[in-house]
């Protein structure tokens, strides 16, 4: 299966245009009808430092970067060294022979292909076009026609005039021909089923999906402060929102951003903030405010490697504890954890609906890999028909207010109800003048410390979530019932775990895979059933503490058969690592 895929990568120094080169390659193959999955390795600095962009090309949908590497374009020796562990047997490296002489260790079955990328670019156009030479050369060796990138060249450079398009075309062709002439290494791309050819699909990452999902779910105010790797959400939202009168507020800091999201939600507009760990740490008091005042709030946290400033461009799944437990005192909240781009899209709707319905903060945890890996998504999987906006008990008209007044005598923001949810009136409605507040309060929103009412309001705040059953939808499961081994994961690990499951199954093991899509409330009953039916359970996480496993211990129970399989070096799992971890215990 993995063999059918093709893994390509370009690596060099930050500032050399590595990202756009990778994206040209990926986008073109995507438009041809392949499923592509991209992975960016980059650093928290602007120029210098190693960066690379990997593209996995497959006739079927893939959810991770792939273990092997078939063709590497290297602009420096560092890029070769960095990617050597990934190189598959029989793979090749195109390197820029203008700037260095590529070296690989003895005994590796890898073909070195020197091409004077810089020289050719300089001769035919300008140095930065070495990327186009490399793309041309790559195209030739993987069996693409020379005009494969034609469309893209027009689109990208058309505005700059025909000459620019022409130069790029020439440079690309030169690379193409040079490669064909100077090496006989070839490895064709996997075949493309007829039905796929040129099929319209989406090319987006989790951050795009968050932005799209939010806008489609009715979000109209996004207040945020720039931070890697969450800023892309702002970029996407900036493209989508103004058409709907929506506002993107760049706040002075994350505290303000989150308070703004609360303010806008209070005023009746769906609003969110997006951030990464350091920003989330600044939002604890806002969580408390949202919880105590029962004002909806949606926070998207694109998790990078901590602690503290940590490794801003590296992935991790270590903000779960903070998302679930931070804020002094006690509030209810909901924590979702999408595993795929599609999940991210739908979870935004879920987040806004849940926030409105339960009048609580909802945190959506997206790991960096999911947030930043652009990939092919089927059009039908981003189904707007599945979007239903449910604003819960929201009074938006005078008539609705009148009905309440008829029933209660006057409007009570914190009415003690059966289900614990009190109707929220939009400020601005006659006869619904009211207070919301961060202090403990009575039904009318008067600050108070009376013991009986305190107990009732606390119970109400907790009871209102009783009707929320995560067990029903927050798990995705594959594989046989009563497996000998159950692989459990959350976030972007789904792709690797799924491929590992397939490999292990092929190897004769009875393996199932459970992906957990909500961390709080944890779908504990459903997880318990799965654990109890399994022989052995491994929980895969990109963190040190095994945060999901700790939650399972807390909410489900302690089982000797459940173990953590952790990776916390900032790099996502490879399938081979998953398999090796399984073999260690199975």
């Amino acid at each position: 299966m993995t063999n059918a895929d093709f893994n390509w990568k370009v690596g060099g120094a930050q500032g050399e245009g590595i990202d756009s080169t990778g994206e040209i390659f990926a986008l073109t193959l995507h438009r041809m009808g392949y499923y592509v999955y991209t992975y960016r390795h980059f650093m928290s600095l602007i120029k210098g430092g190693h960066t690379n962009y990997k593209v996995r090309i497959s006739p079927v949908q893939r959810r991770h970067r792939g273990d092997g590497l078939d063709l590497l374009v290297a602009f420096d020796q560092g890029s070769i060294d960095f990617s050597l562990p990934e190189m598959s047997p029989g793979s090749a490296i195109i390197y820029d022979s203008t700037s260095f002489e590529g070296r690989i260790p003895e005994g590796r079955n890898i073909t070195l292909i020197p091409i004077p990328l810089t020289q050719m670019a300089r001769d035919l156009g300008m140095v930065i076009m070495k990327n186009m030479v490399a793309i041309g050369a790559s195209a030739a060796l993987v069996g693409l026609p020379q005009d494969a990138f034609e469309g893209y060249l027009e689109e990208r450079f058309g505005k700059k005039g025909d000459a620019v398009v022409e130069t790029n075309r020439k440079v690309l062709a030169a690379g193409y021909n040079y490669a064909l002439e100077h090496t006989d290494w070839r490895k064709p791309l996997p075949g493309l089923p007829e039905a796929s050819k040129g099929k319209k699909r989406l090319f987006m990452h989790g951050n795009d999906a968050v932005a799209l999902g939010a806008v489609v779910a009715g979000c109209r105010v996004v207040a945020a402060y720039p931070i890697t790797p969450a800023t892309e959400i702002l970029y996407s939202v900036l493209k989508l929102l103004p058409k709907y009168g929506g506002v993107v507020l760049q706040a002075e800091d994350e505290i303000a951003a989150c308070q703004m999201a609360i303010g806008a939600n209070y005023a009746g507009v769906r609003a969110m903030t997006s951030t990464s760990g350091p920003g989330l740490s600044l939002m604890s008091e806002s969580l408390g405010l949202s919880g105590a005042s029962e004002t909806p709030l949606v926070i998207v946290d694109v998790m990078r490697a901590g602690p503290s400033t940590g490794m801003p461009t590296k992935t991790e799944q270590a903000d779960a504890f903070h998302a679930i437990y931070s804020a002094h005192g006690e509030i209810q909240r909901i924590v979702l954890a999408p595993s795929t781009v599609e999940d991210a899209f739908y979870d935004m709707q879920r987040a806004f609906n849940l926030a409105d319905k339960y009048q609580v903060p909802v945190i959506v945890l997206v790991d960096l890999v999911l947030g930043l890996s652009k990939q092919t998504v089927d059009l039908e999987d981003i189904d707007f028909e599945r979007i239903a906006i449910d604003r819960g008990k929201l009074l938006t008209t005078k008539d609705e207010v009148d009905a309440v007044v008829a029933r209660l005598g006057h409007y009570k923001r914190y009415e003690l109800t059966e289900d614990g949810i009190s109707a929220r009136a939009l400020p601005g409605l006659e006869d619904a003048v009211h207070m919301v507040l961060s202090y403990e309060h009575d039904e009318e929103g008067n600050e108070m410390e009376e013991r009986g009412m305190r107990v009732k309001q606390t119970r109400k705040r907790f009871n209102k979530m009783r009707s929320l059953n995560m067990d029903e939808w927050a798990l995705r499961r594959t594989g046989p019932q009563n497996p000998d081994l159950l692989l459990v994961g959350w976030g972007s690990t789904e792709g690797q775990l799924e491929e590992a499951r397939e490999q292990l199954t092929a190897g004769g093991l009875k393996v199932a895979h459970l992906q957990v899509g909500a961390l709080y409330p944890l779908p504990a009953a459903a997880i318990r059933k799965e654990i109890e039916a399994a022989g052995k359970v491994l929980v895969f996480e990109n963190n040190y503490e095994g945060q999901l496993l700790e939650l399972i211990k807390q909410k489900v129970g302690h089982y000797d058969k459940v173990q953590a399989s952790l990776k916390f070096d900032g790099d996502p799992f490879y399938v081979s690592e998953v398999v090796a971890m399984v073999k260690e215990v199975a």
Binding site: R31, K200, R201, L202, F203, V215, V216, G218, R220, V221, A223, S236, K239, L240, L241, P242, K243, Y244, G245, V247, L249, A251, E252, D253, I255, A256, A257, Q259, M260, A261, G263, A264, Y266, A267, G268, V269, R270, A271, E285, S286, L289, S293, F384, E385, I387, I389, L426, P427, G428, E430, V433, H434, M435, V436, L437, S438, Y439, G445, N446, E447
Partner: protein
């Protein structure tokens, strides 16, 4: 009409827990008068406060209220205005709230220039926490946390607002609620961010800056012939030279407010827009990701 409206505000107000004589009573009353004069009924007004004695401003105002966190009234207030431009939004709080923990939000609100009014009840002390030094306490001020006198220089809110680029800067005094109400009227009408710093005595914990003291020391700009409230640097110099001991409108200037700068920001309040439109625009939206 206006009189009835004041009554309407009072009907919605909670009963007060402020100390008898607290300057903040006059601030609330002046605001009720100003809003009534502008024919703004309580349900069209939202008052957002932080935490402090002054943070209870909205409990007693009788409009819609959001009692947020210590120092955080302004981000909440700005977002409310952006979400529903039809609401009149007042932010209010104390000197600790606004110039201590909240001063970052204050200066950014100044430069963002969203159309809200910010009222600071400046008593040079932390009232609610029973008497510690505040950022506007004068140097050497003795309080529970500064038994040897405050070591820091005080924050100068008017100068900061002027330096920060505020379009409307005024100062009131609880001892003259009539002038205060008039200032408030102008501030609410001003398009963009407006600041009213109000010297509002804490009769319980600040025994130096009393009504009497203020009365004797404040220069009333309404009575200063030739004061030019349209020259920012002149205003700065005037305030500085008077050590901030002024009352009246210090500075005003028309400038486009934040909302006017936003692409796509509609005349109809955001809160009333149709949320389902994007579903209809599916093809167009998805085109951005192909």
């Amino acid at each position: 009409m206006a009189v009835n409206l004041v009554t309407e505000y009072k009907e919605h107000a909670q009963s007060s827990t402020w100390c008898p004589g607290c300057g903040d009573f006059a601030v609330v009353a002046a605001m009720q008068k100003a809003l009534a004069a502008l024919e703004l009924p309580p349900h069209q007004v939202v008052a957002v406060t932080g935490i402090g004695c002054s943070g209870k401003f909205n409990y007693y105002l009788g409009a819609n209220g959001f009692n947020s966190l210590h120092g955080r009234s302004l981000p909440v207030a700005q977002a409310i205005k952006i979400a529903n431009r039809d609401l009149t939004v007042i932010a209010a709080g104390g000197d600790g709230d606004g110039y201590g923990i909240g001063i970052g939000h204050f200066l950014h609100a100044v430069r963002r220039n969203v159309d809200i009014t910010y009222v600071v009840m400046d008593n040079h002390i932390y009232g609610l926490t029973t008497g510690q030094t505040s950022p506007t306490s004068k140097k050497g001020f003795v309080t529970k946390t500064t038994p040897y006198g405050a070591a820091e220089y005080p924050i100068r809110p008017l100068e900061l607002a002027l330096a920060g680029g505020a379009g409307f800067v005024a100062q009131g005094f609880s001892g003259d609620p009539k002038q205060l109400a008039e200032i408030m009227k102008q501030a609410v009408q001003h398009k963009g961010f407006s600041l009213i710093n109000v010297y509002s005595p804490c009769v319980t914990f600040n025994h130096e800056e009393t009504y009497e003291w203020w009365r004797q020391n404040l220069v009333n700009l309404d009575q200063e012939q030739g004061y030019d409230a349209t020259d920012r640097t002149a205003a700065f110099r005037y305030v500085y030279e008077h050590n901030g001991l002024l009352r009246g409108v210090i500075f005003r200037e028309e400038r486009r407010d934040y909302q006017s700068e936003l692409p796509g920001y509609a005349a109809e309040a955001l809160v009333r827009q149709d949320l389902s439109q994007p579903v209809k625009d599916r093809a167009e939206l998805l085109a951005a990701f192909m």
